[in-house]
Amino acid sequence: METITSIKPLLAVLVSLLVVPMLVSSRSPNVREGWTFVAAIIKLAIVASMVPAVLQGMEIVYTVAEVFPGVAIKFRVDAFGMLFALVASTLWIVTTIYSIGYMRGLNEHSQTRYFCFFAIALSATIGVAFSANLFTLYLFYEMLSFATYPLVAHHQDQEARSSGRKYLLYIVGASIALVLPAMLICYNLTGTLEFSKQGIFTGTEPKATMTVLLLMLVFGFAKAGIMPFHSWLPAAMVAPTPVSALLHAVAVVKVGVFSVVRVLTGVFGIDLLARLNLGTIICYIAAFTIITASLIALSQDGLKRRLAFSTIGQLSYIVLGVALLSPKGMIGGMTHIAMHAFGKITLFFCAGAIFVATGKKNISEMVGIGRRMPVTMVAFFIGSLSVIGLPPTGGFFSKWYLVQGTLQADQWPMLVVLLSSSLLNAAYFFPIVYKAFFCTPEEAMFENKIEEAPIWCVVPLVVTAAGSIALFFYPTLFLKLAELATR
């Protein structure tokens, strides 16, 4: 596999960092958000410009500086990273539009700070996607943790403070206490941290060490929300909705999952995991998370909390898919990053739109809301379809591949888990939609008068909903990337 040396990856990371001074210095909100747009579009352009090369199976490499013997701050764009980067940079644009609508609609305070850290978080995300070794990944992972803290704690009140604490405790605590030592042990054992298909280990290390390392790394990347390291996610729901959307669909959780997948595929390598039979352990952890999270989601009344637990479950799909160690399963898991992203961001946009328009947060208060906000609720329906994994939405494909993966690896219990959890997904999404449209006039809480959220909020969610449908008809790009990544 030939590699190209190019500065593009670095630029893709830096572009949203470089815009921060502009944001700070810009006088009027319009100028500020103008800059954000410029940055977002340039970023997408740079990322997209690398797609053809990647599709031809090439890798784009750029080394910034060697910090330790054998370890450098280094970028490598491969298929998997490209898949993730593409999703993130596309959805940033949409999220930006939405944020403008949301923040202005609620007239939130200190919006400049909000947009700045949003931008920083995005460059950290792209950095994770393009990082070539565990050290670089850790660098940007931490950067993302600290950049998202002010976003989570945006409201600066007691509640925000306590959940901000929880967020830090889980994310930073786990990464320092587990990932850092694990990383150093790997470095001490092997002398390198570069990701590679066959892993960095010689395979002669004792299984116990490998198991401990694997668990340290998998749980250490707490952003993946694998139980029991999940409860920061519902807590982080105090954040403004666009932030939650970013956290859940684009940046944070996906970065966590991405890192876990990288560890499985790049650090340990499929062969080693298969030989030591470590994949199954991860499978069962993931399966447990999936089922438990879905069950908890059923019992949640707060819309955002329900979505949060649904996210926790969905993330473990991805981990599960990769941990199956079967090609199809891995394709399923990787594509699920994209599919779930589009679906889930739609759902969050809808939740936010409802909040902006009606100030309602709880599902029990949304009976008949479809009559008032039909567009939003239709989008919500599509999003939930995608998350459940039913056609005609992109989610269908990832689920399909996952199921095939379980068969390929003949892990029957996992198949059961997948199917039953899909049912659970349906069970906690459809009632909302049903109640929203089909309810007797007397139990409806909204009068029959269409009154949508501001246009800035509606457009993005329509776009993303359309996106998830489009992904059903044109999934090839992501599937291709995923295949390249698994090859």
Binding site: V67, H109, P150, A153, G173
Partner: protein, 496 residues
Amino acid sequence: MREQYPAIIVVVPLLSALVISAAGWVNKRLCFPIAVAALGVAAFSSIGLLLRVMDEGVIVYQLGGWPPPMGIAYYVDHLNALVLVVVSIVAFLNVIAAKKSIEQEFPEKAAPFYTLYVLQVAGLLGIVVTGDAFNLYVLLEIAALTGYGLLAMGEERAPLSTLNYLYMGTIGACLYLLGVGYLYIVTGSLNMVDIARLLPPLYQSKAVLAAFIICMVGVWLKMAFFPLHAWLPNAYTYATSSASSLIAPLVTKVMVYVMIRLILTVFTPEFVFATLALNNVVVWLAVIAIVMGAILALAERNLKRMLAFIIVAEVGYMVGGAWLGNRAGMTGAILHIVNDALMTLCVFMVVGNIVYKVKGYAFENLQGLFRKMPFTMGAFVVGAMSIIGVPPTCGFFSKWYLILGALQAGHYGFMAALIFSSLVSVVLFFRIFEICYYEPFSDHHGHDHPPEPMDEAPLTMVVPLLIVAVILILVGLYTGDIVNHIIKFAIPEGLV
């Protein structure tokens, strides 16, 4: 002129200190420019010296033209060239930042203050550059005496805490002197390299063992290594910010340098790590130091004291790293001298700015600072990240080497202590960030509460601070070069 750099580094600050104190009686406004110029020259020539060492290797400078061991000689190798650069740059940046607060705190005594400041720097630079064991003692005392003067200028309780520091410091210096005396009595020489040449046949002698232990205890006293740290927190807390932001970053680090110099040059690693094999004991002491420092810092409700206890923990880092007895650990310790000097400078300068504006450093004084002094707090965040050990700030990289050294030495207790202290520092600093960020609490989701106006410290204080913050990140990014081109040669081949 290049070959005179070693002398210039020490002599120029000395001469200009004298000129300042004389000029202070003529015209006070002369003092500050002279001080800045002198420290600038020192910084410049130290950089020149480092470059020269990097391409020529060890430089020997004979004072008075007498060849060692008859006369006193400077030995400049990669190790002390690096430390020289750090010390001089820290002093230079800090004197610029200190101007305003000196004018605010004691305008009428500015002249003697600047004199003591520059003398202190001269003493520290001399300690680092000298190659003569006794000369080191004299310079130690200069740094100490001027330090007492600077620290005692602080609040009401400063004299008492300084007097305690003086007792401890004097005992420490005397013990070092006694250790040198023991070395002299068995070898008859005072020159470090010469002593190292004469020692090997005497490794079994009780006197050499005693000399080593006495020197170490003396140095530990002066660097506030855990059981002997009692003087440090009060002394640094009650001092004026301009003084503490010079002394806190430098003095302890320079003493760590002295310890490493004694281990590496005078009593070679073979003796220290092979013959007496005290490593485990000392590293466990370091572990206790780190843990206790972190816990005591947690107990504080006042920014400056908290930082003082963090220094105690950081000293534990360096001593432990140096005593791990392997290359990675020693690299980590030396690298951490550089990083810790810079990040301590950063946070203490921040304290200086805060005190200048808010007139206090207790936690309740810090409310709403993110709005009030965004630039200062930005630098503070960088410094905090570095102390926590978040890449790409420099603190992470020295911690990396230290942990690696612990792993290679199989000393998991030390590794655990490092991780623990990082976690604790996360708590420490985010506790402060929360106060600066959330409080004072505003009702209903913080909408439309009037944002209090931005009230940043003067430019001469903010600009150096921001420079330091940038340096923190740059040093982090260039760690590879620093280690490969400088520190690698600072550690003798024998140490693997």
